[in-house]
Symmetry: C2
Subunit: 137 residues, 2 copies
DNA sequence: GTAAGGCTTGTACCCAGGTACAGGGTCAAG
DNA sequence: CTTGACCCTGTACCTGGGTACAAGCCTTAC
């Protein structure tokens, strides 16, 4: 039940080269090899890659993704460090969610405005959406 | 009360060159010029640039940001199109919020696990966080 | 046993989004 | 009336994240 590169690539919706790239970058662990030299992936690889792609869509860099993945497998030895890192990431995420929510509200009210007010300039909420940063730190 | 490039750059937390770049790319409208040739910005420019930077942190591209900004000032003439675009973006945003929330939950439970279980492998929720895509479309 | 496809490595290229000169004009302080 | 800190334009460069060859080995189907 070993997956080959193209299987993983297809399943995760990425290019085959991307897998090699992730391997070089230390994001995707180097898999076992068949005697032929072919890489033998498990479905863990698919999960990792899809995770990374999602994380990217959410504005995280590859480095962020790598770090998040490392948290996953931090042994109990480095648990405190992992916890701290996780907590920091949590703050990032909360901020992103706040911003997205503000943006959502702005867009939503904009859509409504567009729907009814077919005549008359509407004061547009988009710019205000992200500007006040009501960051209650 | 005209702002100069460095004022805007400082206020928005970006490099001066970035302003020129955004202008070239049509993201930031070309401002009035003094007789000297100096650009004269209003604080609108600051708002636009900060908006763009935030949007980028949320995983939107410059093109996305530009599009969002264009929605803002669509006259009543193109209101229906604007509304459609806004609605599409809303779907994007909702998906991002869903993913982030899943990630948040995963990280949060991870942090907890790290906090108490200082001995014993913990099954880590990070990978599962983003994988099942419970997309109720 | 051979042809079509998939795998390997290495290297080179590409796009988005900036960032950094170089060469020159402007402006305010002293 | 010059010096230092700004601004202008143009062009060249850089990083992150891939993507695309090229040259050669594996595998499966016929």
């Amino acid at each position: 039940m070993a997956l080959r590169t193209s299987d993983v690539a297809k399943a995760a919706g990425v290019n085959v080269q991307t897998l090699r790239y992730y391997e070089r970058e230390g994001i995707l662990p180097a898999p076992r090899r068949a005697t032929s030299g072919y890489r033998q992936y498990t479905d863990e690889a698919v999960r990792i890659v899809t995770f990374v792609k999602r994380a990217q869509e959410l504005g995280f860099t590859l480095r962020d993704a790598k770090e998040l993945l490392r948290l996953r497998s931090a042994g109990p030895k480095r648990a405190p460090a992992a916890r701290a890192a996780a907590t920091a990431k949590l703050a990032d995420i909360d901020e992103k969610i706040r911003d997205l929510s503000a943006m959502r509200a702005a867009l939503s009210s904009l859509a409504e405005a567009c729907a009814c007010a077919t005549g008359g300039a509407v004061t547009c909420p988009i710019l205000e959406a992200l500007e006040k940063t009501p960051n209650p730190s």
